[in-house]
Structure formats: C-alpha cells, structure tokens
Symmetry: C2
Subunit: 133 residues, 2 copies
DNA sequence: TTCGTTTCCTACTAAAATGGTAGATTACTT
DNA sequence: AAGTAATCTACCATTTTAGTAGGAAACGAA
C-alpha cells in the first residue's frame, strides 16, 4: 500500500466532516479551505465518496456534504481501498485485489508479505473515523 | 510501501544467489532463466545491487554474480529501500525518505500510519535472505 | 420565475513513474 | 585473437498521478 494524494485528501475531508455535528451540510469550498485541498480536485474525491455511500449531499444554496453513516462505521481501510486499491505491499498477497506478480512462486517471500498485509488490514479495518476525532 | 517489479525481481535474484554455494559466480542469463526475469532488465537490477555492495561480480568467461556479503547480512528492508524508497505508507511518516504530504497536520492519522511504518520496518529489517533460503 | 449557489459529471492534460529495450564498451578467459 | 559476460547509458511506450476546465442539473431565496 502506498497512499496517494487522493486518499490522503479523502481522509482529511472525512475527518473534517466527522468533527461537525451530524447531518450538518458543509460545502466543498469550506472543506477545501479548512484542509488546504485544491477545490476542484476535492470535488471529484467527495463525489467518489458519495457514490460509495460514505457521504450524503444536497445541491443548491445551503447545500453541501455530510457523513453518510456514523463515524464509527467508516474505517480507514475502506477509504484507502476505494482510492488506492490493495492494502497489501504487492497484489499477489492481496485478498481483494489479487493479481499475479513475480515473487508469487517464492513461498518464503509470500509468507513475510502476507504477515505485513494482515497487520496493515487489521490495523486500518479496526480504526474508524470515530477513533480519530 | 508498494513493491515494484524492480524490487520483486531483485529479491528473486538475491534469493537465487543465496541458495548457491558461497562465491560461486552465476551469469545474468542463468539467473534470468531460473527466475523468469527479462534478462536485460535483470542486468540493470544486478548492477544496482552490485553498486550498493550486495553483490560482487567478475567479467568474461566463467564470470557472473555472487552475493557480496553473507545472506544473513542482507535484509529485505535494505533491498526494498534501494529500489522503491520508503517502507512507510506515506513519505510524511518516513524516517529515511521524509517529505511533506497532506495528512501531515492530522496527528491522529500520523499516529496510525507511524505504527504501520514501525511494524513494516521491523519486520523487513529483521528478515534476511538467510531466513528465507 | 429567475438568480445565485452548489453539487454533479465528464473530458482533458502535464508530469512523473514504471517496466522495460537497445546497443556499444570494457574486461576477463582460453 | 576470439568469445563471453559484465558495464554503462540512452531511449521509449504505457500507465498512473495530480490535478484543471467547463458545462449541466438541482435547489433555495427573493
């Protein structure tokens, strides 16, 4: 796993929304300013999060975004997977994003990297936005 | 950390050499065939490993590559860092490859990702080629 | 009913990273 | 001298990354 700016921005935005009162709508520009994120880029990111049901939104004046579910139901693992794919260090040890890679045939290497995958997934699955606010 | 094909091939080649008798020279083509690596690509990779003193070599007939130090002195961490940079999930929590990234200001996120960095580094620093042969 | 506001949607683009290839040169062995 | 194998550097196509641009749709207020 390597965090891209997309997933980092997504986490910042979600964290910001998690700190608001539930269901208060906040506009893209407000979040963008508060967290120093390029606004048009953030727009795309929030839209992705909305389509994946982590956010809800409404348009027009006093519109904006709010969390789509409670903060303790959104884990870091889900957010990172949504933007960056596998949490594992290489796809051949990934559960959800398996692909063939060169080290595949070396059992001893696979074992080490699976242990890393397991640690990372557990850690990020067990950490929710609620844990961080 | 995300493994690239470079670092995966490097690990395969090193592991192959670690399994040979010490100081036996093996040619690029032999390693390439044994581990299914594009030979000219492997050439570059071995050269990088040689410059970093993980391999030694000699030219000409019966030339080739061998480990430059004993297998228990070569950790996976060193190899991965050489080709892929930071072991950390994002540079702002990396010790050797620090750079600014967006999540930097969020202490709670930093804490989680530093724990991951620590686990990964320890695991890969404590695993040597000798552990894998 | 119209105006401003804000989300929604898609296309585009520049730069960097990735995964190699190609070919010439140097050095060693027989 | 011939063959073999490492050394070195340049090149290249594709994919990924990190955004930008601009219009359409919807909502609220006046």
């Amino acid at each position: 796993m390597k965090l891209t700016s997309r997933s980092e921005y997504a986490l910042l935005a979600l964290l910001y929304l998690a700190r608001q009162e539930a269901d208060v709508l906040v506009s893209v520009d407000t979040i963008a300013k508060a967290q120093a994120i390029p606004p048009k880029f953030l727009e795309q990111i929030l839209l992705t999060l909305k389509r994946a049901r982590y956010l809800k939104s409404s348009k027009g004046q006093h519109g904006g975004y709010a969390l789509g579910k409670s903060a303790d139901k959104i884990s870091l693992a889900e957010v990172v997977r949504l933007f960056d794919g596998a949490l594992a260090p290489t796809e051949s040890v990934s559960v959800y994003f398996f692909e063939h890679t060169p080290i595949e045939k070396e059992k001893s290497l696979i074992r080490v990297f699976k242990e890393i995958r397991d640690y990372v997934s557990k850690k990020l699955e067990n950490t929710t936005l609620a844990d961080l606010v």
